[in-house]
Amino acid sequence: MSRIPQQVIPLVVIFTLALAALIVGRQLLVPESFGDLGHYRADAVGEVAALDISYAGAQACLDCHEDIYDTKQEGHHQGLSCETCHGPAANHAEAPDEFLPLVPRGRDYCTPCHGYNPARPSGFPQIIEENHNPGESCLTCHNSHNPATPESPQECAACHRPIVNQKLVSHHTNVECTTCHTVPDEHMSNPRLVRAKRPTEPETCGQCHSRSANSSKNIPRIDMQTHGNRYNCWDCHYPHSPEANR
């Protein structure tokens, strides 16, 4: 004992106590599963995964409503999940009689997607609510599970509203879509599979804009041989709004 200096003994005691406090403190403060998988509480993963769901998923609907699924599969709404319109229905899937999902009937359920908005992609069917059978329920003409109209719309604006609106305020306002585009009949009923055709050669524009064209005097003319040399017309001009403000 005499070999150990006297002042070391309290230091050893203090360090031992501090170490013991650290170990005990860690045991008490650090949660059980902390550090098992990383610098976090591993049990938290299970806790997040165990939360309740509100949306049952389309598969759950199919288990009972196969007939509606079949109808939906035939039309443009085939990619649509049931709960997009009918709202969260996990409780309905659990207890079908106790909880009933939404059965939307008003116009305001369709317009969030099908109301006209210029930022929507062209080709997506859009209506101007004020002009499209005002006051009438959408369901009068459309079956929401297969929403094709009794007659396919003949006017292009039904789906290409942003382009039509742009054209409407441009110098091309009186030019029919079909002046430049060839539209197969099948495109009206099957728009994604059978596409309308775009012009392939400058002569389409030349119908009106070439020097020799038989069209109104006010239409700007160009020399088809030299103008724009190797470029096609639409490489520089946007035909739906040709230099409207310039």
Binding site: A44, Y55, T84, T111
Partner: protein
């Protein structure tokens, strides 16, 4: 000739009965494991989730933001969002005008007469579940973390609500929950995907603008989106390595 060792019947039975519990325990273990394999018990390390967003398909209906709030019990007031939709209006000159009234849940009212619009489109936004997540790096208590399947989660019993992660997120994907006083964010609907369901926003998206899947899966809608489109991630210069991939978005999208 050597004598064969003998065992009396009583001895044999005694020995045998002692071994019964061991044999039974050994026999049940593989059955449990087999059952787990048949039921498909979830193993996080087998998965690597990601999302694709096709800008050309988004119609800005806001169903995703609405479904997210329902599914995840996000407060209904504006400014609390796990996912939201932005409208980008690119004018002839100058920077794009971006707005997101109530996250797009109530639609996007027309902005009146605008003669200088070059093009406009919608961009759904959410947590990018970065591989190299700044929010995870700054959390002082280890309450936010990247799980083994690549989803950035918040441990809301452990979060102290210091807001460092909200500051650190370059995508504005986090908010402080007004009643729980902890950071909250998109979890890719972790409680759904671990159950084999799609995230709520993907489930309700009417035009399949959102695609969810696993990066390792060689045939999936996500794979197809990544294969056939020009893909960007948001703010690639920050080296966060997002796992939300945008198709059809350009430099205007921030």
């Amino acid at each position: 000739m050597k004598e064969r060792p003998t065992m009396h019947r009583r001895e044999f039975l005694r020995n045998f009965s002692r071994k019964i519990p061991t044999v039974l325990t050994l026999a049940t273990i593989p059955i449990h494991k087999l059952a787990a394999a048949v039921e498909g018990e979830y193993k996080a390390s087998d998965h690597a989730y990601a999302m694709g967003v096709d800008i050309h398909k988004c119609i800005g209906c806001g169903k995703c933001a609405d479904a997210c709030k329902t599914e995840n019990k996000v407060p209904r007031e504006p400014h609390f969002f796990r996912t939201w939709v932005e409208r980008y209006v690119v004018p002839d000159e100058g920077p794009a005008r971006v707005d997101s009234p109530n996250g797009g849940i109530n639609g996007f009212p027309e902005q009146g007469e605008q003669n200088d619009v070059l093009r406009q489109f919608f961009v759904p936004k959410l947590c990018n579940h970065c591989q190299n997540a700044p929010c995870v790096q700054v959390c002082p208590v280890g309450a936010t973390f990247t799980s083994e399947d690549g989803v950035v989660l918040v441990d809301d019993t452990y979060c102290v609500g210091c807001r460092y992660c909200i500051q650190a997120c370059p995508y504005g994907a986090r908010y402080l929950h007004p009643t729980k006083h902890v950071a909250d964010k998109c979890t890719f609907c972790y409680h759904r995907i671990t159950d084999g369901l799609l995230p709520a926003c993907v489930e309700v998206c009417p035009n399949q603008a959102r695609v969810f899947g696993e990066l390792g899966q060689r045939s999936s809608p996500l794979r197809r989106l990544l294969r056939f489109n020009d893909i960007i991630v948001l703010k690639p210069g920050l080296n966060t390595e997002p796992k939300v991939f945008y198709a059809g978005a350009d430099g205007e999208v921030r």
